[in-house]
Structures are given as structure tokens and as C-alpha cells.
């Protein structure tokens, strides 16, 4: 079971780039890495998903080294509205039946953006 470890909290000033790293030493060959964002009193929201190297979308980038034992979520030029908890999730994208899905959420990183 791939377990994830993230920093508990991070602070950043507005306009800075923020990098949040997640460790997943036991990641399996068919596991993907997914990041979610959660605001208070709301359900988590998908940010980005990747398998290896680099993935970029309109809100973030995900960097995954060759050994895949860690990953880094990069948020460019954060604003106050990016203050939230960010979760790293590791698991297979497609399972082959019951028990194939292993959805392990990290404990989350609370990002506080300071004006």
C-alpha cells in the first residue's frame, strides 16, 4: 500500500511560486499521482494527475522524478484564494477488479498565502 508523506503546513507570500512535495516510497508500477485542493467546508477538488516526468495544466505543474518516489506540485504565482489544504493521492488509474484500487490520501498540506 503506497503511503504518502507531505509537509503539514507551508506559508507563502502572494505572487510567489509554491512547491509542495509528496513522498511515496512504496509507489507501485501502475500507480498514478493525483493532487487535490480542499477549501474549508468544501469537498476536495482535482488539480492535476501524472505518472512520470512533468505534467502541466492551466493551474499547476506536477514534477515526478525518474524513480517516482516523490512528486512536487508547483503552483505559480499564488494568490490569497490559493489558501487551502492540498492532498497527494497515489493509486492505480485502472484496476483489474475488486481490491485493485488503493486510494491513499496523504494527511494534506495546509498552504497559507500571506498578503
Amino acid at each position: 500500500l503506497a503511503k504518502t508523506t507531505q509537509p503539514i503546513s507551508m506559508d507563502s507570500y502572494e505572487g510567489q511560486e509554491v512547491n509542495i512535495t509528496c513522498s511515496h516510497n512504496n509507489i507501485a508500477t501502475n500507480d498514478y499521482i493525483t493532487w487535490y485542493q480542499q477549501f474549508p467546508s468544501q469537498g476536495p477538488r482535482f488539480i492535476i494527475q501524472g505518472y512520470k516526468t512533468k505534467v502541466t495544466n492551466e493551474v499547476a505543474s506536477l514534477f515526478i522524478p525518474a524513480d517516482r518516489k516523490s512528486s512536487t506540485l508547483s503552483l505559480p504565482r499564488v494568490s490569497l484564494s490559493d489558501t487551502a489544504v492540498y492532498y497527494c493521492l497515489v493509486g492505480p488509474r485502472r484496476g483489474s477488479g475488486a481490491g485493485s484500487y488503493q486510494l491513499t490520501f496523504g494527511k494534506g498540506t495546509k498552504l497559507s498565502v500571506i498578503p
Binding site: Q42, P44, R93, G95, A98
Partner: protein, 112 residues
Amino acid sequence: DTAVSQTPKYLVTQMGNDKSIKCEQNLGHDTMYWYKQDSKKFLKIMFSYNNKELIINETVPNRFSPKSPDKAHLNLHINSLELGDSAVYFCASSLQGFDEQYFGPGTRLTVT
């Protein structure tokens, strides 16, 4: 239009009661989930159904029983509620398996 909806949003009940939380998704997804988020904000999966078939059943007391009448609905029934059941329960859905999940707004359950 709400993609994943849950009812009720708040639920306050006494120990020993039986209660249900309903979840519906209008995204046409095949897979639905129930998560529990406790006071420490740990988000833990409880159940997952794929096209009405149970595919994940984590270590959850058997007082919790999911029911999926069709692939658009996954309800959570809880018997003999205990104080430790107090938490926010999130329903989610995805197209298949581990695809991007869409979460509902959550149901805050308080057991007194």
C-alpha cells in the same frame, strides 16, 4: 447543475440512532465513493462502488452499509450511531477507477 449532491448537509442525531446519507451524481460516472473526514482533517476512503458493484471496502465497522440502487446513487446507512462517527462524510464519483474524482459538498454528522 450540481454534479455530485448529498443530502442532508447537516445531520445531528443521538447515539444509538440509525441514519442515512444520500448521494447522487449526474455525470454519468461508473464509480462512486464514500469518504470520512474526521476532526483532524484526515480523509479516508470507506467504500467504492463500480457500476453498482462493491470494489473497495476498507476497515469500516459493519454498522456502515452502502447501498447502490443504480450507478447514479450511492447511499450510506449507519446503524447504532456512536460518538466517534461524528465527522464530515463526502461522496465522490469518477468516470472509472482512479480517474479524476468529483466530490460532493459533504454531510456534517454530529452524534450527541
